[in-house]
């Protein structure tokens, strides 16, 4: 970060000024995810001056990038060396940044097979609410020195601090890939997915929508070839398949595209996170099922309480991803001992409460 010390100092000054005047800050990179979480408010703190890949050594499987680096730039650099971010972070626009990716903590179709974004975070440098630069974690794969604070920034919605730099574990792109399509109803599809997941097959992603199940295999070429014959289904040509998975990943598939008119009449996009063996949920609306059943998208006008009750009964939680009215709360409410811990963590990192207030919970 040395080359950016002046930029970092300016951001730290902005934090200190905001703290001293109790001014809320909206931490912003490419502004592609303003729709996600509680409604942003406050003076904008722009992370984009902190841009660039600080270090990348393919043989270490580690890349370190400043928060304002465009995600597209990072992914291109990795692709040029045959590597990738295996968790496939969704891109809601061309301008998304690495810092925004970490703060949102979202993962794409491969999540169930490769892990979440947080599993790939090795270290972060952040500005706390007093404008101090802190570094947690590092650039090595195994590190249990002190509490693993770096990974808590994944999905933190910016409430704990300004993410300035991130080190991520990267992986090689798998050599073989194939996509199969099956005509099958949701219930039987979920059963098949659970069955396949218990077999040593290179299952990389799945998505069910409107009577069709898409299954992606990725791994050694020979393994993919032998398994695709055993599973059956219809092969899709690689280019078409790749475009289709990208559209799911980036929410460009028509299912995810809620027009202003849809939102105006109360239609919402929900993300239901449930145990993958949960049978089809008896909730009104249109569905798209990913992650072997563990992530279920729902387009519906049903009331929030009905959805959250049904999901809670299954041991899961529901997030209101797109909606005109976010008054039911974007994220599922926490039990008291857990919320108390959240409040004390927030208080210790950001005592003046200036970072992204309300983006995660109204109390934080």
């Amino acid at each position: 970060m040395d080359a950016h010390s002046a930029d970092l100092r300016r951001l730290a000054d902005q934090v200190v000024t905001a703290r001293d005047s109790s001014t809320a800050l909206e931490i912003r990179g490419g502004n592609t995810k303003a729709f996600y979480g509680g409604v942003p408010r406050g003076e904008i703190l722009d992370t984009r001056p902190l841009a660039g890949i600080s270090s990348y050594e393919p043989t270490e499987l580690v890349v370190t990038a400043l928060a304002g680096t465009p995600l597209a730039e990072l992914e291109a650099a990795l692709a040029s060396r045959g590597q990738c971010l295996p968790f496939e972070p969704p891109r809601f626009g061309a301008d998304g940044t690495v810092g925004g990716m970490v703060a949102a903590g979202l993962a794409g179709p491969a999540r169930a097979s490769v892990g979440a974004l947080r599993d790939y975070v090795l270290g972060v440098s952040v500005l706390n609410g007093s404008g101090e630069t802190l570094t947690f974690g590092g650039q090595v794969m195994k590190n249990v020195a002190g509490y693993d604070i770096s990974r808590v920034f994944s999905g933190s919605m910016g409430i704990l601090g300004v993410i300035c730099e991130v080190s991520l574990k990267v992986m090689p792109v798998t050599p073989g890939c194939a996509t199969l399509v099956f005509d099958i109803d949701e219930g039987p599809a979920l059963v098949e997915l659970s069955r396949w997941a218990a077999l040593p097959v290179p299952l990389s992603a799945s998505a069910w929508h409107r009577g069709q199940l898409f299954v992606r295999l990725a791994g050694a070429r020979s393994a993919v070839d032998s398994v695709r014959q055993r599973l059956g289904g219809t092969d899709i040509d690689p280019r078409t398949a790749s475009d289709w998975w990208q559209a799911i990943r980036d929410h460009r598939h028509p299912f995810f595209c809620l027009a202003p008119a849809d939102l105006a009449r109360g239609e919402c996009l929900w993300r239901l996170s449930v145990p993958d063996t949960t049978p089809p949920m008896a909730l009104p609306g249109e569905r798209l099922v990913e992650w072997g059943g563990a992530q279920r998208w729902l387009r519906t006008t049903a009331p929030a309480a009905q959805i959250r009750d049904a999901v809670a009964a299954r041991g899961g939680h529901a997030t209101l991803v797109r909606a005109a009215d976010k008054s039911p709360g974007v994220f599922t409410a926490l039990a008291q001992p857990l919320m108390s811990i959240h409040q004390r963590l927030k208080q210790s990192f950001d005592p003046a409460g200036i970072f992204n207030p309300g983006r995660l919970y109204a109390e934080l």
Partner: protein, 495 residues
């Protein structure tokens, strides 16, 4: 206030605590006589010993909650303990505290093959999970060397690894949910049986928190399909540098082996002497590169790995013919510790991680330290993820040797930090590495870790004195440090 009273009068304090615990536990679950509590005086790091005030062995979750509530009300420290196999003193008792043994929480609650999860109580042994899952073709991936004895609760507390974590991840990556109690005795859940939970992701804080943030009673782990085949390639190298370069080349070639381990010449000799695995005793270093998966996958990966190893100067390559030979290749690595035990009365197992590319440099630095401290050191290395385990050989009956050994260890850790690494890859900080924490982290960073501790445990009663050094301790260590590791009055006991 309680602390002040207790410091003055341990016996009175013990009577008070035992009486309070007797209200919530059967007498058979409370140990306080010296002959009973002595067995709990240390964990796997035997250089540190402390008899606890009281030991409790609750049998139900309600009793765990009641013990915590009781201790909280009295201001008594609580040290949770699993199998006691930890290597950094994380379960070292507190002189005025209660050691909370979770040994009786050893039930396998359920294995759900369809959901590919196991729900187990914290005292279930690591290997017992894989054994229970085996009839379904499933297993639990993290496999620390002590897996026959260590428990899942301890694995969660330490974020344990093993030889397969490059491909399959650490404990954190294989745990879905952790259930337990706060220091105040409130029930609390982290994670869920879904792939995530609402709110901040606190699971990474709990995993690896060394019993300082909550007491864990139940863990839900992911089970994976057992790979139908595993084959191991054993490659010899004429220099440690060449072996290190070969590791980098394997990774650069897009290969993620299931395991990638390096042993130096002295370790190989010790292991060969112990297990007769047929290691190449002429080699300066040996790499074990394992591939697992379907037969097609394994064949493809083994072929690519051999090409890369040959191109990078392997002087001899052997591929396991069958399962028996594969296990033989591994037997020396898995027995590295007992093999070292035969070479010396005692050994101290270090654990740090460095960027892989610094491996040869680190091994040279360790050679120099051997001369400096007049002690021998053998090296095993999780080369795939840069995790180094130098075993420093010494005689604990010689206080001067023990002291030199500790300085040797501290210097390895500081070299690791200088090379861009960390002071512990998988064994934890415990009490052993408190001073090294002062070197790796700034005052502000340590203050935030202390704040995280307070967020979970405002009264500071869970496993106090571990992991996060006090700023005063760091200041003192810093002062000693200025003298370049050579202390004034070296005869004075300090650690």
């Amino acid at each position: 206030m309680h602390e002040a009273l207790s410091a003055a009068e341990p016996a009175a304090r013990q009577r008070q605590v035992v009486a309070a615990l007797a209200q919530v536990l059967p007498a058979s679950c409370i140990l306080h006589r010296p002959e009973e509590t002595l067995a709990y005086e240390c964990d796997g790091l035997t250089a540190y010993r402390q008899v606890p005030l009281v030991v409790v062995l609750p049998e139900t979750e309600e009793q765990v909650a009641a013990v915590l509530r009781t201790c909280h009300a009295l201001g008594v420290p609580v040290v949770a303990r699993g199998a006691g196999t930890g290597l950094s003193g994380g379960a070292l008792p507190h002189a005025m505290g209660v050691t909370l043994s979770l040994a009786k929480f050893d039930a396998l609650v359920k294995v759900n093959p369809l959901a590919r999860i196991a729900v187990v109580q914290c005292g279930v042994r690591n290997l017992a999970i894989s054994e229970a899952a085996a009839p379904h073709g499933l297993y639990y991936a993290p496999d620390p060397s002590s897996q026959i004895a260590c428990t899942i609760g301890g694995n969660v507390a330490e974020n344990s690894g093993g030889v397969h974590c490059l491909k399959y991840g650490l404990t954190l990556h294989n745990v879905l949910r952790v259930r337990g109690f706060t220091a105040q005795g409130d029930a609390i859940d982290f994670g869920s049986e879904a792939l995530d939970a609402a709110g901040l992701d606190l699971l990474p804080l709990i995993v690896g928190s060394e019993g300082m943030l909550a007491v864990i009673v139940e863990v839900t782990v992911k089970l994976l399909p057992r790979p139908p085949l595993a084959r191991c390639v054993m490659a010899s190298f004429a220099s440690v540098e060449a072996a290190g370069a070969a590791v980098a080349a394997v990774i650069a070639g897009g290969i993620i082996p299931a395991g990638l381990e390096l042993m130096d010449k002295r370790m190989t000799a010790a292991a060969e002497d112990f297990v007769h695995a047929g290691y190449d005793l002429e080699a300066a270093a040996i790499l074990l590169c394992e591939s697992d998966g379907t037969p097609e996958e394994v064949a493809e990966q083994v072929e690519r790995a051999i090409d890369v190893l040959r191109a990078n100067g392997a002087t001899q390559i052997e591929i396991s013919r069958d399962e028996q030979q594969r296990l033989k290749f591994w037997s020396g690595r898995k027995n590295a510790f007992p093999a070292s035990g035969r070479m010396s009365p005692d050994y101290m197992c270090m654990d740090s991680t460095i960027p892989r590319k610094r491996l040869a440099e680190m091994l040279r630095a360790i050679e120099d330290m051997e001369a400096k401290y007049a002690l021998r050191c053998v090296n095993v290395f999780h080369a795939g993820d840069g995790n180094l385990h130098p075993l420093i050989l010494f005689d604990a009956n010689d206080p001067a040797e023990l002291h030199r050994c500790e300085l040797f260890g501290a210097e390895i850790l500081e070299a690791s930090i200088r090379m861009g690494g960390t002071i512990t890859g998988e064994h934890g900080v415990g009490v052993e590495k408190l001073n090294s924490m002062c070197v790796q982290f700034s005052t502000a960073e340590l203050a935030h870790m202390a704040a995280v501790k307070r967020a979970f445990d405002p009264a500071g009663l869970l496993n106090p004195g571990k992991v996060i050094p006090s700023l005063q301790r760091c200041a003192e260590y810093g002062r000693m440090h200025v003298r370049g590791g050579r202390l004034a009055f070296p005869e004075l006991p300090r650690f």
